[in-house]
Symmetry: C2
Subunit: 737 residues, 2 copies
């Protein structure tokens, strides 16, 4: 692979709707620390810039104000908070302020192969003094508390005096005046930042939240090639400003390095920039070795795929106490909350390529199991747990329960992810120690929340994944996942007397689970041969698509929820999503019929939709359609398909793209505990190559129009199915098509 395939230039993205999209696309993070790709001088020259820096899980909360409150509503909001931002940096040269000069030859790009954001430009003063500027920035993947910037100046026409000015301050959110509920409100007024002094009188910052009781220390160490710089500083209410000067001779270069630390306690260690950078780059090279997915036949697409994999990998919390927020760590959109997106869209990538990270993500759920227990009790559910629909700290903070707490399928999603993790990795120890307990508590929830009714088991008054339909009876998706959870738990406990005893499970409890699974109501319209999204669907009329003008999409921003809910109209895949998960349970004819119907009533107003329609498309021979959906998922952020890339990456969609490639076109599924690979290649590509980890093995899959080549890169031989043919993989296999 050539180096340039990994260079993402500003010209690779659409800036049509928002000139600041690059801030999101060029965001750097390591799962703990994230910073937007704003330019160094933006703090002075671009008041619209959102320069946000964030730490995953560092949030502020406030009591939620309801127009009309009711019992059991979520009490406090949680919003990821901004931490001090060190990127703010600029110079004067021989008395000419930066702002009076002109910038040309700007080159701004992300080197995804190494995880470095680079920038170079020529600055010319009014007196025709020319300075070449080069910057680089990385957020260390190997030392999570640190980000590094380097700012290098080279005067090429005159020697002279550089006066550098920087700020290490917390920037407020740049609020636009609109009511988009997906954007976070500013919490800046609730944060207090104090300048403290370290042992050597060097300043560092302590940022405290008012309500959530959290504290974040941060420090900025300036240096030039191992030598610390000690600037003049001036404290402000949000951090401090600093200045220093240096004479630089013509054609000489001078590089200022920033080592920026964030953590719970103040850290004084001065690190070697080049070693840190080398370790960081080595991490990324390893990452691509395992996780890169290659397409022959479309270089633009190739770059887009890598961009998405890059951001997906950047987004995941890896400490078992944090997770993946809906916007990664690129913005405070959706308030930095963790949703079901993790389990249903993003965790499969980690399960199949970095199982140790997947485990940490599931451990986060285990860490909030007590919150989920408490939440169930608050709701009057006598047994089991209900995981929060959106949260950072484990408490529910959805302020609109019909599209929040009512989405009890989150329980089923988590259980599904646990089972998949164990199936793919073979990590039964995790299941014994943590997974089973979560799955059992979830099984208990269904029995307590749902009810046997008319020879069926019903789960009523819930909202499925599709947020254009709310508070329905027997949502197909929810019930299907509940059924699967119950079946898995029954198997698990029947096979493990140890677990049965440890989790205090009575025999009749197992029997009830088995019965509920067996009698689970799965709405179906026999006359039309149609799987029904829920019991109320037959009453609702189809949304008047023909008379709805284009500018009225997304519907949620132009129609009252009660008008949307009473129609057959989907924001996203719902029934089709369950069919992607349980493909084996449906005939191809059924899949095709349901697909055609639900596609006709789906707006894809959610970024979670297209990827799923893409995958299921590959399974019903709608490869061209699948290709189109897939192409939209790849370019969602780069092309600003949803119109809000500026507010952060669409993290779940990144995972959705991986699903599209590996589980869609790659045809990777687990069926009856066996790995299946049944690829389908779009006409426009010459080939597709990807790797997966499966039960301690690494398997590489190459698909062209002529052959499928499966290679056992490492690990012991294994039986798997290629194109539904059972085969034993020892080193490599080629199936000619």
């Amino acid at each position: 692979m050539s180096e340039t395939d990994f260079l993402l230039e500003i010209t690779d993205m659409s800036l049509e709707k928002n000139q600041q999209n690059y801030e999101t696309i060029f965001s750097l993070s390591n799962g703990y620390l994230g910073t937007r790709g704003s330019k160094e001088e933006d703090f002075i020259l671009n008041k619209k810039a959102d320069q946000g820096t964030f730490v995953n899980g560092f949030y502020e909360s406030e009591p939620i104000v309801y127009g009309e409150a009711a019992y059991g509503y979520a009490k406090d909001s949680q919003t990821i908070a901004r931490v001090p931002n060190a990127k703010q940096f600029m110079f004067s040269f021989n008395g000419t302020p930066f702002s009076k000069g002109k910038i040309s030859n700007e080159h701004h790009y992300l080197d995804m192969k190494k995880g470095i954001l680079c920038r170079s430009f020529t600055w010319v003063s009014q007196k025709d003094e020319v300075v070449e500027v080069k910057t680089e920035r990385f957020v260390s993947m190997t030392n999570k508390h640190f980000l590094f910037n380097q700012y290098e100046v080279t005067p090429v026409t005159h020697s002279g005096l550089f006066e550098f000015h920087g700020e290490f301050t917390t920037n407020d959110r740049v609020l636009e005046e609109d009511d988009d509920p997906r954007k976070a409100k500013s919490m800046a007024h609730l944060l207090t930042t104090q300048v403290l002094l370290g042992e050597e009188q060097e300043p560092y910052l302590e940022t405290r939240t008012s309500h959530s009781g959290l504290c974040m220390m941060s420090s900025l160490t300036l240096s030039t090639d191992q030598e610390k710089i000690l600037p003049r500083t001036q404290s402000t209410s949000t951090g401090y400003h600093y200045d220093f000067e240096v004479e630089v001779a013509k054609d000489n270069s001078y590089a200022v390095r920033q080592q920026v630390y964030y953590g719970e306690s103040y850290e004084t260690e001065f690190l070697d920039y080049l070693s840190e950078k080398a370790a960081h780059e080595a991490y990324w090279l390893d990452f691509w070795e395992m996780s890169d997915i290659q397409i022959e036949g479309d270089p633009t697409l190739q770059k887009g795929i890598r961009h998405n994999l890059f951001h997906l990998n950047q987004a995941a919390g890896r400490d078992g106490k944090t997770n993946i927020s809906a916007k990664g760590i690129t913005s405070d959109g959706y308030e930095g909350h963790y949703f079901w997106d993790t389990e249903m869209y993003m965790i499969p990538f980690f399960i199949y390529t970095q199982p140790e990270v997947a485990k940490k993500l599931l451990m986060y759920r285990y860490s909030i199991l007590n919150n989920a227990k408490k939440r169930a009790e608050e709701l009057g559910i006598s047994s089991g747990v209900l995981f929060p629909w959106r949260t950072i700290n484990g408490e529910e903070c959805s302020a609109y329960y019909p599209a929040g707490t009512a989405q009890v399928h989150i329980n089923g999603d988590i259980s599904y992810a646990i089972q998949t993790y164990v199936d793919v990795t073979g990590d039964t120890q995790f299941m014994e120690e943590y997974g089973a307990e979560m799955m059992v508590e979830i099984a208990r929830f269904w029995l307590s929340f749902g009810a046997f009714n008319q020879d069926e088991f019903m789960i009523n008054g819930v909202t499925g994944p599709d947020e254009y339909t709310a508070l329905v009876n027997n949502n197909f998706y929810t019930n299907k996942l509940a059924k699967y959870n119950l079946e898995c738990v029954v198997n698990l406990i029947q096979e493990s007397p140890y677990l049965q005893e440890r989790l205090a499970i009575q025999q009749d409890e197992i029997e009830k689970w088995a019965l509920a699974a067996k009698l689970m109501r799965l709405p179906y319209d026999k006359e039309r041969g149609l799987t029904l999204q829920d019991d109320g669907m037959v009453y609702r009329q189809v949304w008047p698509f023909k008379t709805t003008p284009k500018e009225k999409y997304p519907l949620l921003l132009h129609y009252h929820p009660m008008m949307i809910y009473k129609h057959q109209v989907n924001k996203q895949a719902d029934t089709v999503l369950s069919q992607y998960l349980f493909e084996g349970d449906f005939t191809r004819e059924q899949l095709a019929r349901d697909y055609a119907y639900y596609e006709s009533i789906t707006t894809h107003d959610s970024s979670l939709s297209r990827s799923i329609f893409g995958i299921v498309g590959t399974r019903i021979n709608e490869v061209e359609k699948a290709y189109d959906y897939f192409m939209d998922t790849v370019s969602m952020d780069l092309d600003d398909v949803q119109g809000n890339t500026i507010d952060g990456i669409h993290a779940a969609n990144l995972g959705g793209m991986w699903l599209g490639l590996v589980k869609g076109f790659g045809g990777v599924t687990i069926q009856d505990k066996e790995l299946h690979i049944s690829p389908v290649l779009p006409d426009k590509w010459q080939s597709l190559t990807f790797c997966i980890k499966y039960q301690s093995r690494v398997i590489r899959v190459f698909v062209s129009h002529k052959e499928v080549r499966v290679t056992l890169v490492s690990g012991e031989k294994i039986t798997l199915a290629i194109n539904k043919q059972s085969v034993i993989l020892e080193s490599g296999l080629v199936i000619t098509l």
Copy 2:
């Protein structure tokens, strides 16, 4: 009737839960102006007292804050505002402050016959000086801008100096710390009150709201027997304080009179207290002549009935610009909003006894027809109107749409009330000028909001009257009222080419209305022979009543709405309410079956419920049950059945009581445009007597266990049905039972 039957003493009410209940029960109002029955000295001696004075329709608004907002949500709150309160008054006698004396022999009562609140007590100073105090208060029914107080002192042991102190200030709401959504938030900080000076330098007050742009002038004129008193005054931020002294000889009486004015412009007229009082008393005597309902056999009940009729009559706005708020003008509970309560619970009383007031209440709806048109447009409803669920100024201000905007049955309720008004009064001119237009716009709404689906007409995604069930398909009550509206409109327009032309109605529109009425879906379970509240009901399990402890009622204060909604549990009559309205459309067996079922799942957590179960009980021979329900409605406020009398009277329940007497036990209905009277008398009563107006006649009905006596008090002879027998009423008729 004896005078004492009209005297409501403090001992007639329960003060067990709340010592301040008398403030509500002794509230006085005239439909425009209302003031709570607090004691004169409460402003100093009882900090818990709620001394509120209100003007119907005078409100403040604020943007509603939502935890998570969405398109089309109601934008601004509206809360009835407190106006300056003149009741605050006390004295010192010979230097002893009122608070240092002791009160004994207190007698506090409402003379309902005359509409006067009276109080007398003996005050004894520490030096054993005795002063007899007598007060009276009335809110004029004949001069709506005025309320009057008289405070009379008689020193009986010593002559001496009275130093009077009073305050004319706006009191803030006495906020208790709880989350009860039915209580209003304080708006006091948004009001500004300025002291201005009149032509004779007398102070008056201007109260302005910050957001709603309203202004209320008020003034207090003090006098003693025709002579004005000009006290010393001192301005404060919410009004002014005043003081004056007078020497009173032993055994002489001195009466201070307050003439308190409220209106949009300042009024200087000084009125004659005694003439105003006489006119006011005459009004009430006339009122009782027409509207009193007499029961023989239960004096306590008799008093309770009169209390309710008194408050019901006090509550109604009579200017065509205001309506009846859920708490009358006795409090700011429910924020002073007008609900469907008016049309379905209260307007029948006015239709049958004061049709001119009923007309004004309907004219209020006509005055907000444009708001209702605009609201429908906001929701994307292409044709017709949607009246606001709760409002003062005509704009929707429900901050929780599933139990607000989604209750589109408000449209059907208004149409039903219009049709009933015209049927009972014969006021076809009102129909032509105003009523038909509203009803046609409502008919248009159904066609635009609902839809033909599978050979039926469906109205989906709505909430019926029962607020423990939300966002359902085909709520029986809603559809039944929609069907009736459509049928009425089709008849009306087919008979009036004038209206068809004036309201621009095409022939095919009429045909669609007729078809929708004909195909209207009315959910029914054939197997169980049960009328279904909505289509989703069969899926919901019955609430676990057996395991729900008593202290968990009302459910809404102890369970999350999503937990309530997914069960079969009713807050109030829903299907049964429609059966009360359309009795003739159901067999007695059907009524009995539905009644038994819905009674078993109804908590009556709404004050609107018991009255309806009472009425329908009379129609299925459950007279004892009907009696029990009825008795609860009568005593709801006096006995504090709901536990929140302190927050204001339950206005709809007052109307519900009237319905129970006249339409329940009295058996008054209109069937096929004919007046029916089919009384049923509970065993415990000897007789029941009431009057109604019907098409310009006054008809008196006397019911005993032996006979039904119907008298034509005034007007021309008429054909009606007594106990289903058609008869001609010329002067009087006696049916022996």
